[in-house]
Symmetry: C2
Subunit: 115 residues, 2 copies
DNA sequence: AGGCATACTATGTGCGGCATAGTGTCAGCG
DNA sequence: CGCTGACACTATGCCGCACATAGTATGCCT
């Protein structure tokens, strides 16, 4: 991970990916770039993080893949499965609860971090 | 982990502990209970998670320990070191950036999670 | 023609979270 | 007055994720 640097997104990474796929299918390289762009580099994970994650999500049935050979380069498009949607919904709740818990400890102080 | 169940707090756990220790020294068992109570069970980590974490933080110089034998039971009090404060400050920023990034993906939607 | 961006695959390592297990003490209850 | 359970810490080991590294191959730009 680039900016978040470390252990902070053990689960955060995969939720982010599932969330991206909620809108429609994407291929690996595209996901890496979208995460980088849309989170201002914070969730910029490398390919070496994303691809194994995708394989993992696929093996668990949360995403499904489809090869597209029509374009210039072969691309493997991933989409959310029904189980993936459930997983996303469940994980989003967990994420929310976690942020609430952290806030109750005084973390994520909205100001004071603006250095 | 109890409620947050899974991989969501790779770093979150230790930040939470550091944050607790910011107020003053605490012993292990007390930390477990404080986390459980103050986060409504969300960050309820067991002893098997906390103690190794404390050893880890101690080995890195972020916390320091002191034995107190005066009470009924011997207690090992942990306190934040100067480095620990720096670490906490740094991690809090990272945590904040992470939540911002997740929000920008549409996660932590304040409503819609109230199911 | 060569280098860079694109796009995916493969392999291996380190470490954090956690389960399990074990030690000992103190307090309350019958 | 012995038992049970809450208190408090230590020790060991597994598993899976994040990540580094490396390798393959194609298309585009200059």
């Amino acid at each position: 991970m680039a900016n978040v640097d470390g252990e902070f997104l053990r689960g955060a990474g995969s939720v982010a990916v599932l969330k991206l796929l909620e809108r429609g299918e994407m291929y690996g390289y595209e996901i890496v770039e979208a995460l980088e762009r849309r989170t201002d580099g914070v969730l910029a994970m490398g390919q070496s993080t994303l691809y194994p994650m995708l394989y993992n999500l696929e093996s668990k049935g949360f995403v499904a893949a489809r090869w597209d050979e029509t374009g210039a380069r072969p691309r493997k498009y991933y989409r959310l499965t029904a189980d993936g949607r459930k997983k996303l919904s469940s994980d989003a709740k967990i994420w929310h609860r976690l942020t609430v818990a952290m806030e109750s400890l005084g973390l994520t102080s909205v100001q004071g971090v603006l250095a």
